[in-house]
């Protein structure tokens, strides 16, 4: 398969018709909140694009992000994304190893200078010269700096690469840092989540390929299409929150009736992600639908928020009895809780900013 051919030419040789592009683009437009009419332009863009060189760097991570992407729903529809990219380097997925693997990375960097995309999963250890994680004798910091030098853009997948994640949690023994702290002269897109939603990864890459530019990002470098709203905004249990109807424990009447999980620790109000709409496992469910609160795993410092089962409001000085009393006033509490959630969200964001300085 020649890289000079367009994606349309390449896939046509394998019997993939332009209808497949149109169908995939309709799906992408839907998940990326583009108007349905954008599907045709997206399909034409993809068909005319060249295969995109991608170098995937795995640092302090658990491989969950790769698992998420490779187990994306499909197989045929989501698998199309793998036809659109040339995954030139990926520790877990590539066949070669050792010096041959590193040679493949350097070859791709040379052949696709200024055009390749670097995907990073995992945070980058910086303490003591970065010795806590090395690949082929090279520290993660050095490999990152070398690889991004001539990249078109960098995509940080997962909360570890985006915000530090688990390695960044107190006391952060390795001096773990997110990519945005180390790469300041290239466009960086953050797709946080532990793991990130596969459609968010595939959709962002497809957007880059078909339009040749970055999707619209928020102040934390996240694509607004997937991170523009909180879980709480699109949660099907939201009407219970607005009426002040809360489960007090995981086995009480409220839990059985599907009431809001705010008081048992749901972090939905501060969690910017698309789980409530895209869901998981082929759209089957998401944590709240399965009866458990959201951890806000795509948020900065989610490991250091004071406990997964503590209400958001508790950690900013509100006692349990106050919560209970406030809940009794129903909808009025919804507004109060939302205010507290916003305060909490700002506290978390400020904490991250302070730690990064």
């Amino acid at each position: 398969m020649s890289k000079a051919d367009t994606l349309g030419d390449q896939l046509a040789k394998r019997g993939v018709s332009r209808r497949a592009f149109l169908k995939y683009s309709a799906y992408l437009a839907s998940i990326m909140a583009l108007p349905p009419s954008a599907a045709s332009a997206l399909a034409e863009g993809l068909a005319k694009a060249r295969r995109q060189a991608v170098i995937w760097l795995s640092f302090q991570e658990c491989t969950g992000c790769t698992e998420s992407l490779t187990r994306a729903r499909g197989p045929t529809l989501e698998d199309l994304i793998f036809n659109f990219i040339s995954l030139d380097y990926h520790h877990t997925l590539m066949a070669v190893s050792g010096e041959a693997a590193e040679a493949a990375r350097h070859q791709s960097m040379q052949e696709n200078k200024g055009k390749y995309i670097v995907i990073v999963d995992g945070s980058v250890p910086t303490k003591d010269g970065g010795v806590y994680s090395t690949i082929a004798g090279q520290t993660n910091v050095a490999m990152l700096r070398e690889t991004v030098e001539n990249a078109f853009a960098v995509i940080s997948v997962g909360t570890c690469a985006s915000f530090g994640g688990l390695p960044y949690a107190n006391p952060n023994p390795t001096g773990a840092a997110p990519v945005t702290k180390l790469v300041t002269d290239k466009p960086v897109i953050n797709i946080p989540g532990c793991p990130p939603i596969p459609e968010a990864m595939a959709g962002t890459v497809a957007h880059l390929i078909s339009f040749g530019k970055l999707p619209e990002l928020d102040h934390m470098h996240r694509p607004k299409a997937f991170f523009g709203e909180t879980i709480h905004d699109r949660c099907y249990r939201r009407p219970f929150y607005d009426r002040g109807m809360f489960a007090k424990s995981f086995d009480d009447e409220g839990a059985r009736k599907g009431w809001c999980l705010y008081e048992v620790g749901c972090k939905g109000p501060i969690a910017y992600n698309a789980c409530a709409t895209l869901k998981w496992n082929g759209g089957v469910s998401f944590p709240i639908q399965s009866g458990h609160g959201c951890f806000a795993c795509a948020s900065p410092n989610f490991w250091d928020q004071g406990g997964f089962y503590k209400p958001l409001s508790a950690s900013v000085g509100m006692s349990g009895s106050v919560i209970g009393g406030a809940a009794a006033v129903g909808a009025a509490f919804g507004a109060g809780a939302a205010y507290l959630a916003r305060r909490r969200k700002h506290t978390i964001v400020d904490t991250v900013s302070a730690k990064d300085k």
Binding site: R18, K23, Y27, P35, T76, D251, V264
Partner: protein, 148 residues
């Protein structure tokens, strides 16, 4: 603090009707007027709307079934159906796993996915020529005698 009981999945309010079907019908009417007036196609992405299953059923029932129904086998099954309202199509794309990947109302004379793309036309013509060329190759006489 109690822990989540195993297997306790709370109810999802999928059976409730929210009135969203009425709103979508009005939007369709606006798109149809635009198609008639300017020739511009329109579409509504049903999966991006906070519709329940009951809302979708209501909408489908009120739009009714039309004269055309096409099934496609493209990276998983798809169905394209014209509703009882001419020019209003219900399109449903599924992945190979049977999960719905996209569901939309298209307001158009013909949905683009049913039209053969010019690039596919050229490929089809090339394949046909190969086919004709293969048919015109004379059979090997020796082989025929040996078998007979």
């Amino acid at each position: 603090m109690s822990t989540p009981p195993h297997g306790a999945i709370p109810p999802h309010p999928a059976a409730y009707r929210t009135g969203m079907a009425d709103a979508v019908l009005r939007e369709i009417a606006g798109l149809l007027d635009r198609l008639i007036g300017t020739g511009e196609d329109g579409a509504i992405d049903l999966r991006s709307l906070p519709m329940t299953d009951a809302d979708r059923e209501e909408l489908k029932s009120r739009l009714g079934g039309g004269e055309v129904r096409a099934t496609l086998d493209v990276a998983g099954p798809s169905t394209v159906e014209e509703t009882a309202i001419s020019g209003v199509w219900w399109i449903r794309h599924e992945g190979a796993d049977g999960c719905i990947a996209n569901e939309q109302i298209a307001v158009t004379r013909i949905p683009p996915i049913l039209i053969t793309h010019p690039d596919d036309l050229s490929l089809g013509a090339a394949r046909l020529k190969d086919l004709i060329g293969a048919d015109e190759t004379p059979p090997k006489q020796e082989t025929a005698y040996e078998q007979g």
